[in-house]
Symmetry: C2
Subunit: 146 residues, 2 copies
């Protein structure tokens, strides 16, 4: 039995989203995994850092590169609770990451709203893992803001 | 006579590109200007920082937001020697920057290679300022690498 399923690592990304929530940030979390080991954890910090580039994925890419001592994330997988935006997809392209797994789709700002292959042709994409948990945490966040 | 022309600030961006060149980085530089004052300077540091996200524009956005104490770059202009890539255009979208001026076009990796409006609808774009200087510094860099 494989312990290290996509659901297992998406739960870890959700833990990161919870950390963002605790800081009143839009709750999005990410982890990057290499050989079944989490080499980077990050959550959205755009408000805290006062920086539109501080998405969970961007920080995770920087942190993972630091961890492996190389800027290309070959044989690495990103788990992120929400579909990456165009900026993050562009960064993931440069990273040549092997696999991207996202939970909820983002029909407004997600990279798939653009009809072009932004990602690296080598990158495999899986979506919909723990979709409800990943979207509900964001929906609840915005409900409380109203 | 207006001292603070687009050429004036593009020359400042070229000075940043020169700094990248001195570090054996692909020579791309950027400045962000608000009320005719340079509030951020940056150059490509992807090799030095071992980070695919360390493009001149990304660092300039983070630095400018820090400088003005707000994450939206309203009434700010970015001057960058090369056409921004998709990642950087995505970041510029989030920043809602008022104006983007770039020197050389990037027909392979520039954001305009994608047939979609990535930038914020409010953002004005000017291209081709000091185009030859901006492209020649990059062409010379790659010639020497061969």
């Amino acid at each position: 039995m494989d312990l290290f399923t996509d659901e297992y690592f998406m739960k870890e990304a959700l833990k990161e989203a919870q950390k963002a929530l605790a800081k009143d940030e839009i709750p999005i979390g990410a982890v990057i995994v290499s050989n079944n080991q989490i080499i980077a954890r990050a959550h959205n910090l755009t408000q805290t850092l006062n920086d539109v580039t501080a998405h969970a994925e961007m920080q995770a890419i920087t942190s993972a590169a630091n961890s492996i001592g190389g800027k290309y994330l070959i044989n690495c997988s990103l788990y992120v609770t929400l579909e990456p935006c165009i900026m993050c997809a562009g960064a993931l392209y440069w990273s040549q990451i092997t696999k991207i797994v996202y939970g909820a789709s983002d029909n407004k700002k997600g990279y798939t709203t653009i009809n072009s292959g932004i990602l690296h042709p080598k990158t495999q994409v899986i979506k919909g893992i723990l979709e409800n948990e990943c979207s509900n945490i964001i929906i609840d966040f915005f409900k409380k803001k109203r």
